[in-house]
Amino acid sequence: MVSGEPNDIHDMDPDEFRDRVHSFEFWFEAVRGYLSDKPYGHRPDLEEEPMEPSERDQLVTVLCNYALGETAALEGASGLVAIAPNRATKLFLATQVVDEARHLEVLLHRLGELGVEDPEGEIERRASPHLSEFRSELLNLVAGKDWEAAIFAQNVVLEAMEFSVFQRHAQNADPITREILIGIIKDERRHIGFGENELGRRLKAAPHNLARLSEVRRRLDPMVLGSFKDVSAEIGLPSSESPELGRSYLSAVERLGFGT
């Protein structure tokens, strides 16, 4: 925890990735820069931007769905610790567990800042049915102890979905929400890097699994694209741009080698 800033993990070779990234030490170095002066994900002196009641309501709906996504990610990552194939992977997933729990906590805190008194109830009321379906499917894959499929659903599909939405939303979000999202996006990059590295090595050793994972993707895509549709209007995306979000997700997944 005293060494310098870590390299960009996406530039590391697979062996260096395994040696360095799968550790508490690396995690702490990675997060300290962007968390140390931001309790609950944003600088305490950032001022709340005035919002119309309808804008506030839209933001609450969006944040409720983000919180649902992060709950799925927390449940998925914690379940994956038990089925991880080796100790180093368990250590990385433990860091991911705390990242996802932090995301959930900062989003719940943000809902509180926006005046939501019962976040649990609001999340239940405003949850996208497609996202709820995705959560169940992810947890089924984890419960079925299918390591490749579960890590694909969690660290490729879910993380790429969140990455695409958060990045787009951060462009026109209020300053507090933007700062929170930027912190979360930095974690998501690390998680996607892990998924890419882990599955990349496994698929190299067993290429026949690609067809199986592409099938999982075909099952999950409608849930992801449906979730986008459910929230895109709420994040101020004009309907003409809504398919752009889907394309951004699809190209992110395809870049990782998981074509349809």
């Binding site: 997060v31 914690s78 100790r87 433990a94 567990v97 705390v98």
Partner: protein
């Protein structure tokens, strides 16, 4: 419950642990700390240090599996978030004790074989009892087993090791001091969260009490193996001789000087301390302590 759990948030954890007592450390100790030469150069002491550290790795691996496994069994979000911090704490403990094995000369490709060779079978059974509850998603039994019994044992063992090593091996003592601070938080959560659940589900008591009794038996059996084996006496004598040469001072714990005690006295002191703690903590959450058989 809300106020109690706010003390166990991620934010609180970030400020008190990684940004607090771990700040400036590397694998749990100041980067300049090294294992003492007398341990590295003496085969008896080095093997003893490896054997002890393997038990810590085994215990922490169990704690990592248990805390991550309990997240999806937790009845509320704040408990899930606390268990997320505990998961990372336990992963850190696995990492720092594993690193100590490397520092003691264990090669990376030999790690699992060394752990297999030295892991105490009674400690493995102790862990299995807990992990069976976790596999069944039994939150109440899992948290009592993990945060009261396992963490309670770890807390006292770490404290004793910490006191015994402060003068002789500051690196190991520093490593332990961070884990002790973590364990204190984990035990606090167990006591604070489970009391209300036990009141809501009194029918769980007999099963939880039986688990505590079984786990306590295997804990005592682990202590017996560690302190009564002939090797323990040899290590103790060698350590005394070397520490004497180095002029190491007394090591006080629970009002006794560890440096002058023989292994069986230490076993008795450790067992009595842990069992007394169990009784007190279980009483606070409404569980009747069950006296285990003595191995």
């Amino acid at each position: 419950m809300g106020d109690f759990l706010s003390m166990y948030s991620i934010q609180h954890w970030l400020e008190s642990c990684p940004q607090g007592y771990l700040e400036g450390t590397e694998y749990g100790h100041p980067p300049s700390d090294k294992e003492p030469e007398l341990v590295l150069e003496d085969d008896v002491l080095r093997e003893g240090a490896i054997r002890t550290t393997v038990q810590l790795v085994v215990g922490e691996r169990c704690a990592l599996s248990a805390s991550s496994g309990l997240i999806n069994a937790a009845p509320d979000d704040p408990s899930r978030r606390f268990l997320a911090t505990q998961t990372l704490d336990e992963a850190r403990h696995v990492e720092i004790f594993t690193q100590r094995l490397f520092d003691l000369g264990v090669k990376k490709n030999e790690l699992e074989d060394v752990i297999q060779q030295y892991a105490n079978p009674n400690l493995v059974k102790f862990a299995e009892i807990l992990l069976e509850k976790v596999d069944k998603k039994d939150f109440v039994a899992g948290v009592v087993g993990q945060n009261i019994v396992l963490e309670g044992m770890a807390f006292s063992v770490f404290e004793m090791l910490h006191q015994g090593n402060q003068s002789a091996n500051p690196k190991f003592a520093h490593t332990l001091s961070g884990t002790i601070a973590d364990e204190r938080r984990h035990v606090g959560f167990g006591e604070g969260r489970i009391g209300s659940l036990i009141r809501e589900q009194p029918e769980k008591k007999p099963e939880v009490e039986k688990m505590q009794k079984d786990m306590a038996y295997f804990m005592l059996a682990t202590f017996a193996d560690s302190f009564r084996a002939g090797q323990a006496e040899v290590e103790r004598e060698r350590a005394r001789e070397k520490m004497g040469e180095q002029g190491a001072g007394p090591a006080q714990w629970q009002g006794r000087d560890l440096s002058t005690m023989d292994p069986e006295e230490m076993e008795g002191l450790l067992a009595d301390t842990v069992l007394k703690e169990f009784k007190t903590r279980l009483g606070r959450i409404g569980i009747e302590y069950q006296t285990p058989e003595r191995p």
